[in-house]
Subunit: 225 residues, 2 copies
Amino acid sequence: MKLQLQIKMNEALFLRNPESSELGKNILKHSIQLIDRTGFELFTFKKLAEEIGTTEAGIYRYFENKHKLLVYLTAWYWGWLEFQIIFQTNNIKDPIIKLKKVIKLLAQAVKDDEQTSHINEHSLHKIIISEGSKAYLTKHVGEDNKQQFFKPYKDLCAAVGQIVSECNPTYKYPKSLASTIIEMAHFQNFFMHHLPSLTDFGKEKKESEIISFLNDLVFSSIKKV
Amino acid sequence: MKLQLQIKMNEALFLRNPESSELGKNILKHSIQLIDRTGFELFTFKKLAEEIGTTEAGIYRYFENKHKLLVYLTAWYWGWLEFQIIFQTNNIKDPIIKLKKVIKLLAQAVKDDEQTSHINEHSLHKIIISEGSKAYLTKHVGEDNKQQFFKPYKDLCAAVGQIVSECNPTYKYPKSLASTIIEMAHFQNFFMHHLPSLTDFGKEKKESEIISFLNDLVFSSIKKV
DNA sequence: TTATTTTTGATAGTATTACTACCTTTTTAT
DNA sequence: ATAAAAAGGTAGTAATACTATCAAAAATAA
């Protein structure tokens, strides 16, 4: 049996559903490649069109602009990750083991998921690390938020915060700790590779060390005294 | 006696020193205003020139492009903040009290500093919160780092990490904890105002709550057991 | 089946952005 | 007073971020 995982996306993120056609899927596939390669600033719809073998206008019929495409990709990633978390922590009763598993999933490099043929999760994970925060660090974050663009991210945070609260119902900052874990899983990775003196993992550059740091940070904080 | 605080800037960040002329100072002053108002994406040298009453080419004689200007402003801020920290924690022996003071300085809204007439620190602090990470989240972070553009940020992190180590010499992640404190002082502020469900301070929206969260996070982590 | 509408994709523009080259005026040094 | 160098302005260009229009293909309705 071959399952095909489909993530339900917010309709306001696109003009035409990219999952609904070959060109659409090509846009997703090649935009991930191209953003990963050039960075979001130098990424343009013209370059993307050339890469795919279509025209700029073709891309514009799917996505209003490159920012919406980035928000789409990040939303897709958060949705996918929450599914991974639900799937992989299923049947785990102990919230502490659950939280450790979540930290691992957040901080660990992603293997490409066979269930989603046109999305390369490994590249997408790198994009989230380098470009992810640009999705919301804008002046129009308020309107974007009203349109629920960040719902998958907020849902994931809420789910992590929930597990934190299960570990210690008296802990006062479950949501802020959750967003801290998620952001730092990515920022410490970026720092480790590009500004290593901002971390303690500059020499080894191993994700396992980030995981250890986050585990220490989280479980010291929520430990009941 | 009126002191004039001058922060020594990396010469590779500008083509002509903006502190050396009226136009240069105007560029700093109005770019801070304009970036704060429009956000970095919509900020252009043309708009800035109109605001000042000069021309685009005039701005380009001081800064190569708007990214360099952003890096300049962030570097200035980190330099200024490190001076504030050194000044305000001077004579404090106890590293724990020192660290608490640092967290407060990092997370607290900034009052405009009279010593720097053409820089509005309050607006600059808002820019750091919303745009600061864009200074290094680029593909050319490596070259920028080689040119020491991020030295003030790294120095500040090192200084904070140093105090962490003084609090507990056996703590394993002083640098990562330092960068976490600094980043989260800003991110939690951004979230609190724009994506409040990612924090536990959505209702009150008070910086004092961010400070409490960071204090709890930091001192649970470095507590000797 | 044919006619009609809708979808899909390509062509050719425009306004804005990000710069560059070149020229004039002002300041400073001798 | 004169030369030089610094500061400032004008007028471009190439690329980016779109938009409007057109043509072909596919879906659907009569």
